[in-house]
């Protein structure tokens, strides 16, 4: 265990450094220009993101508690990009609402530490590290959800999140303990050898699964989602729906594909059922939503249901398609949330019918929204289509044609409510439409990045091949 093996933890260490640095900065920056903390944080994180792209060799630390490989590394970068975009989008909000009360730094510290938790979670080599990462990634978000201390709904969403999260982690802990009981180890590598499908292990699997399903917000563990999204600040909602969901999906997939592979005949049926339930419930609830945040919350639930179609494949193809989809999903969803945030920041309006006639006043913004929604709905040529199509391919490759059929039915349903938003923006004309406004630099940057992502990622096939190679050790 030499010093340079710490470089394997480059992401974690850098991020930790940034957190500490921000604390120090908090002390030295003088009162009258607190705003600069935002610039500093974004700048630092930008650097961190860039540095993240440097290659990392594949190995593990602490006797296998912490491991990293190309795919994990790549996924951390995805998270980084996501967070960076998110920071860009929420910069103005921070400047206007948060920094005044000297809470800018808290925000960054909390968010970064939650991200740190995710790093640990996805590169965890045993259940202990996994559990710590999980908690570290969840608790700060709860704090962030309740961040707007003056708003009642914000606190409500915070409480709902923390309580549900506690319950979930409790349940999954119990599950882990049962798995521990059957296998006698909490190290993934040991578990793989010994685990067999006994009733106890199945029970453990189910309980453990529930814990992660909660974070991915799969039916029936999804109920917290909508309320929390609605109450929390938009940036947190989008953080929950994009970053933490993505990370959870990733680790769930890795665990299912490696550690719990011997139980595949169990969990694939489980995933089958839950996928159907999730897609239908998510879509059916999304149909009626007026509040854009709730709307996106349910839409993201449905999207999680689609992701399961990739997971059910259980091999390299599944990994690739899922990672690819998550990558695309990050951009699409961030774009949608970004537009919502921009509008609500300018006008405080968050309802669908406030968007009527938006195209006539703010064409650019509505176009971004349209692209995002098309990508979520899976309309070519924007990226979302490719992501979805490949997920379906993955499921079909296992012969789950019925599942694919139900999925495409759901795609149609989802198209309906995405079109509702487009209808409001393009088809309707309203005399009290949102007046034209110009976004600040950060927000525009954030939106542009997402749009580029949406437009390019799908058509640019080498990316997919790259992911495919990274995930080569899954078959």
């Amino acid at each position: 265990m030499n010093i340079d093996s710490f470089l394997l933890m480059r992401h974690e260490i850098l991020l930790l450094a940034i957190v500490l640095l921000l604390i120090v900065a908090e002390i030295f920056i003088n009162q009258n220009k607190k705003g600069s903390i935002v610039h500093l944080a974004i700048f630092l994180f930008g650097i961190h993101t860039i540095v993240g792209f440097f290659a990392i060799d594949e190995s593990s630390l602490f006797g296998g508690m912490f491991r990293t490989n190309g795919l994990i590394h790549f996924f951390k970068n995805i998270l980084n990009i996501g967070v960076l975009v998110l920071l860009l989008q929420s910069a103005d909000w921070l400047q206007e609402k948060i920094v005044q009360h000297n809470r800018g730094t808290e925000f960054f510290i909390l968010m970064f530490s939650s991200l740190l938790g995710m790093y640990f979670m996805i590169s965890s080599g045993d259940f202990l590290m996994f559990y710590l990462g999980l908690e570290l990634s969840t608790l700060p978000v709860a704090a962030l959800a309740a961040f707007e201390t003056t708003k009642r709904i914000s606190s409500e969403s915070g409480i709902k999140l923390i309580l549900s999260a506690a319950l979930a982690s409790g349940v999954s802990l119990f599950g882990i303990s049962l798995l521990y009981a059957t296998t006698g180890s909490i190290y993934f590598n040991d578990i793989i050898e010994v685990i067999t499908s006994t009733n106890l292990s199945i029970l453990g699997l189910v309980l453990f699964f529930a814990g992660l399903a909660f974070k991915i917000s799969l039916v029936p563990f999804h109920f917290w989602t909508a309320d929390v999204y609605e109450g929390a600040p938009i940036s947190i909602a989008s953080y929950l729906s994009v970053i933490s969901k993505g990370a959870a999906v990733f680790i769930l997939m890795i665990l299912l594909f490696t550690v719990l592979k011997p139980l595949m005949h169990i969990w694939e049926n489980m995933v089958y059922i839950i996928a159907i339930a999730t897609m239908f419930i998510g879509n059916l609830f999304a149909l009626r939503q007026q509040n854009m945040k709730r709307f996106l919350a349910f839409s993201s639930i449905a999207q999680a249901g689609f992701i399961l179609l990739g997971i059910i494949e259980g091999n390299q193809l599944g990994v690739t398609t899922v990672v690819y989809f998550v990558l695309i999903y990050v951009f699409s969803n961030l774009a949608a949330f970004g537009v919502v945030q921009a509008i609500s920041l300018q006008t405080g309006k968050e309802n669908m019918n406030d968007y009527e006639g938006l195209y006539r006043t703010n064409p650019k913004l509505s176009l971004v929204m349209m692209l995002a929604l098309f990508s979520l709905a899976g309309i070519p040529p924007v990226a979302g289509f490719f992501g979805k199509f490949f997920l379906f391919t993955a499921a079909a490759s296992k012969g789950y044609y019925l599942l694919v059929f139900l999925a495409v039915v759901n795609v149609t349903i989802s198209l309906y409510y995405y079109l509702l938003v487009i209808r409001a923006m393009f088809l309707r004309q309203s005399d009290h439409a949102i007046p034209f406004f110009k976004n600040k630099l950060y927000m525009r940057l954030g939106l542009i990045i997402t749009v580029l992502g949406i437009l390019i990622l799908g058509l640019y096939s080498p990316l997919y091949d790259y992911i495919f190679e990274l995930s080569s050790n899954f078959n």
Partner: protein
């Protein structure tokens, strides 16, 4: 740049230029230039095709193949045979005419033309691609702009119609997706690699059970956009609400994707499935033929009449395709083309009449021959063409279909043929009814006595569509031969 990809590139460039256009004048000029250019390319393509065909007897010519997603063996692979060439020509003409017809688009002209061109991109791509994935992509690209086109620039219950149309077509394409995946994962039945390439799959003999399972999905997936009987209801409302140019493109071109897809994918790749299911779908198609005609008989809104007649005419296309013989298929393709021109012409004329009289209710109109002779005369001609008068394209197509269908050895199919032949009488009835009420007779409304005369761009648009109708009707031989020889490989594939 190869001759086919230009059909994608040029519109894209047009769009990029359009983005910087300001106001109606610039946008329409730009899109006019673009579409004229495409028209030229299509003409050039026809000649090039004949030259190529002379030396090259591959199924598809001008093929180009670029690997796209190599893990799935997805290629951007394109190529044309006589059928797609003809349909491309149709598309360019209709698009050009559409631009002429929407010369005075008031509201958001730039966006209108952009969406119009996006739609055309989808259609071009669909016709030239020989890779199922690419085909599907272009299919959806073609469908989606309809929502905006109808929703923003439409009339009447536009939001409702737009939503209905989009959802039904997308639902269909969703079903289609399952079918395509099914084909894809059985394309290695002979031990080869999985592939989306139509020509390669055609060589594979996919097991019968699989074909039985996936043919209906694929067929319905395509046939819905071809207005197959129980799934046609999107089309009347959609047509009625759409702006003129969109109705033209929609009925003239977009609905052709159905027949073409059925032919290229469902029939060609799943022949045994087709044979197994043909009796069922052929009944649906035959019902559609007669049913559409009768439904048109009762309508009073011009666009509804036309929409239902489209259901009837395109029913014939599917009907012929399911007959699985060369003549009928030839007829089906010809019918697609001729219906494309005719119905586009109809909608153009209806648009002009509506633009002048502000009503599409035939009972309110009357004696138009006196007041707007040009439009009315053309309308009469179009009507005669669509009731299958010799000398116009409709006759040629229908005769091919009927003779071909009647060559079927099974008496059941011949009886159905006779049934659908009877539709031509009903067609005559509803066409002449409209002509009688709307164009002839005394002028019903004083206000009509002073209607604006037809303008130059309208004339252009009309003649552009009329000339091919007459041309096909008078000298069908070259076209039908071009199609027939392209059908040869498919025949060998299927029978």
């Amino acid at each position: 740049m190869d001759i086919l990809s230009l059909f994608i590139i040029v519109p894209v460039i047009t769009i990029l230029v359009l983005i910087f256009a300001k106001g109606l004048k610039q946008s329409r000029i730009i899109s006019l230039v673009g579409s004229i250019f495409q028209f030229g390319m299509a003409i050039n393509l026809v000649f090039a095709y004949f030259k190529e065909r002379a030396v090259n007897d591959a199924i598809m010519v001008f093929t180009k193949d670029v690997v796209w997603f190599k893990q799935f063996n997805i290629h951007y692979s394109i190529g044309v045979d006589g059928i797609s060439v003809a349909l491309l020509l149709l598309t360019t003409i209709v698009v050009l005419a559409g631009v002429f017809i929407s010369w005075k688009m008031k509201d958001l002209p730039k966006e209108f033309f952009v969406s119009l061109i996006v739609l055309s991109i989808g259609v071009y791509g669909f016709f030239i691609s020989i890779d199922l994935f690419t085909m599907f992509v272009f299919f959806e690209i073609a469908v989606i702009p309809m929502y905006l086109l109808i929703g923003i620039w439409g009339t009447g219950p536009r939001e409702y119609s737009a939503m209905k149309l989009t959802l039904m077509l997308m639902g269909a394409s969703a079903v289609l997706l399952v079918g395509i995946l099914g084909i894809y994962f059985n394309s290695n039945a002979d031990g080869g690699p999985l592939t989306f390439n139509i020509l390669e799959i055609a060589q594979v003999n996919i097991p019968f059970e699989v074909q039985k399972l996936f043919f209906p999905l694929t067929f319905i997936g395509f046939a819905v956009i071809g207005a197959l009987f129980p799934f046609h209801t999107w089309s009347p409302d959609g047509h009625a609400s759409a702006p003129t140019a969109v109705s033209m493109l929609h009925a003239g071109v977009l609905m052709k994707l159905g027949g073409y897809g059925v032919f290229r994918v469902a029939m060609y790749l799943l022949p045994e499935g087709a044979l197994h299911w043909s009796w069922f779908f052929i009944i649906l198609a035959a019902i559609g033929v007669v049913y559409g005609a009768f439904a048109a008989l009762k309508q009073t809104d011009l666009k509804y009449i036309n929409a239902y007649s489209s259901v009837s005419h395109l029913g014939l296309v599917l009907f012929a395709l399911l007959m699985l013989n060369k003549t009928a298929w030839n007829g089906a393709i010809l019918q697609s083309l001729s219906h494309g021109f005719m119905t586009a012409l109809f909608f153009a004329l209806i648009g002009m009449i509506y633009g002048r009289t502000h009503t599409r209710d035939v009972t309110k109109l009357g004696g138009l021959l006196k007041v707007i002779p040009f439009i009315s005369v053309i309308y009469v001609i179009a009507g005669l063409a669509s009731l299958g008068l010799p000398g116009f394209s409709g006759f040629v197509a229908e005769m091919n279909i009927f003779v071909g269908a009647f060559q079927h050895d099974d008496i059941f199919y011949r009886v159905l043929t006779i049934l659908s032949v009877s539709a031509i009488v009903i067609t005559a009835v509803y066409i002449l009814r409209v002509v009688g009420i709307m164009l002839m007779g005394p002028v019903k409304n004083e206000a009509f006595l002073s209607l604006p005369k037809v303008t130059w761009y309208e004339k252009f648009g009309i003649l552009l569509l009329l000339i091919p109708i007459v041309g096909m009707g008078v000298a069908p031989l070259w076209l039908s031969n071009m199609i027939l020889e392209s059908l040869q490989p498919f025949i060998q594939g299927v029978l």
